[in-house]
Structure formats: C-alpha cells, structure tokens
C-alpha cells in the first residue's frame, strides 16, 4: 500500500499545476507543446520559465526530501536513446500532445480526441515494452 502514496501525491501536484496554469494563464500544460513552443512560438518567455521550473522543481524535490535520484541506464545503446527521442518528438507533434497534454489536460476536459490518443500511446507503449523485453530479451 505504501508504495502508492508518493505516486498519488506526485500525481496530485501535477494535476494542481495543470489546473492552475489553465485557470491563470489559460494554457494547457502539455509539455511537448510547451517544449516546441519555447523554440518556435512567438510568445516564448513563459514557456522557458515553465521548463526551467520543471527542472528546478525536480532538483528541489530531491534536495528537500532526500528521495534518491533515479539511476541512469548506462547499458542502453546510444542509438536506442536517440531513436526513442526522435519518435517521442515526432509522435507528440504529429498527434498534438503527450502524456500531460492528452493524458491529463485533455482527459480532464473530457476530450474524446485525447481519450483516443491516450489509449493509442498507452497501447503502443505496452506493446513496445513487451516486444523489447520478452521477444528480443532485455536491452534496457
């Protein structure tokens, strides 16, 4: 039971940040959209500050709580990490969102489009892990 407490608390914080961003600035807290917007949109200022906050919030959380920093996957091939990154970037821009934009904000406003997107990326994520781990044997 105990192992569910931190994920739930973390989820509540993520939800609160998303809802407050919408209530104050009227923006969807979709991180893929914010990342691309920070590079390509005319109104970049708030996006960069949000992303800096994302990194700083993570650092502060580990410093203040003493929760161990997750270990790095040093045994994964560079090509795999690069391919994963390109696919995430490509997919989130083509599909207009990621886990936060579709999964939390989109579902929160009862968007059928986001429900479909979330179901699709959850499904292909599960299939990918199954194929990599159980068909080819673990590479990560």
């Amino acid at each position: 039971m105990e192992q569910f407490i931190l994920p739930t608390l973390g989820g509540l914080l993520i939800g609160i940040a998303s809802v407050l961003l919408l209530a104050t600035l009227g923006r969807v807290a979709g991180i893929s959209g914010i990342v691309w917007g920070a590079i390509a949109a005319p109104d970049r200022h708030w996006r960069w500050l949000f992303l800096i906050g994302l990194v700083a919030g993570t650092a502060l959380m580990h410093i203040t709580t003493g929760i161990a920093i997750p270990a790095e996957h040093t045994d994964a091939p560079l090509l795999l990490i690069t391919l994963a990154g390109v696919l995430v970037g490509l997919g989130t821009r083509i599909g207009n969102g990621c886990t936060s934009g579709h999964g939390i904000c989109g579902l929160g406003r009862l968007s059928v489009r986001s429900l479909v997107a979330t179901s699709v990326f959850m499904a292909t994520g599960v299939i990918t892990v199954a194929v990599v781990r159980h068909l080819f044997g673990s590479i990560v």
Binding site: A23, A56, L60, R93
Partner: protein
C-alpha cells in the same frame, strides 16, 4: 506576473513528476510492462492528476476568461484523424523504448545525465522533423 506564475507552475509540476517516480525510466518501463512483470505504482500518478484535473477543468473552461489572460488557448481541433492515431502510436513506441515522455525527460535534465540530454535533443529534432515532413496540421498561433 504571468511569467513568474509559469515558473511557479513549472516548479510544482516538476516536483510532482520527481516525487511520483515518473522521472525513473526503470519505473516507467516496469509500469508499461503490463504483459510481463507489471509494476502498477505509476497508475496512481495518472489517478492523482486526473482526480484534480477532472474535478476542476470542466468548471474552469466555462469561465469567460482565465484570471490573468485575455482568453483560453485550447486546442481547436476536434476530429479523430489519421494524424492523431499515427502520432500517438509513434509517441508510444518511443516512450516504451526508453521510458521517457516529454515532461519527465525535461525534468530529469536536473540529474545531469548525458543520456537524458541526448534524448531531449533527439526529441526536439523529432519535433522539427515533423514540421519539415509536413506531418502536422496545427499552427502555433501565439
């Protein structure tokens, strides 16, 4: 004021991600390993976030305008088309290969791992590539 609020929301979002376990690729891959040795913990992240989002968002979007901006910037697209499915599918494969979706990937830059930086650069490259290949319909309008 608007900018500082964005920083504050980023801080809370990042704190939530790292507290929840989403910044651990091991944890995420364990969560996605439904057909193997499934680690269900991260379902509670989605649960907690959706609890807040589902209770407040439908009400907030009925407001005439947000508290500190002229209008809501919500996605206008409603259609469920091939791009949505294709994009979602590609994103899921990338997520399952390494264990990072965009939020945790950016947040994890705090750990200073070279692999995270490579992932983030590749992710931006993928986003740029989507535009170059004319695979997108949405426009950044502001």
């Amino acid at each position: 004021m608007r900018a500082w609020l964005a920083l504050l929301m980023g801080l809370v979002f990042g704190a939530g991600l790292s507290l929840s376990g989403m910044t651990s690729t091991v944890k995420v891959l364990g969560f996605l390993d439904v057909l193997g040795d499934w680690d269900p913990d991260l379902a509670f992240v989605m649960g907690g976030a959706l609890l807040v989002s589902l209770s407040a968002t439908p009400w907030i979007i009925t407001w005439v305008r947000p508290l500190l901006a002229d209008a809501f910037s919500l996605p206008a697209t409603q259609s469920i088309d091939r791009r949505l499915i294709t994009g979602g599918a590609l994103f899921g494969v990338g997520w399952g290969l390494w264990g990072y979706c965009p939020g945790p990937a950016v947040a994890s830059l705090a750990y200073g791992y070279q692999s995270t930086l490579i992932f983030c650069v590749a992710m931006v490259l993928g986003m740029w590539l989507a535009g170059k290949l004319h695979l997108i319909t949405s426009r950044l309008n502001d």
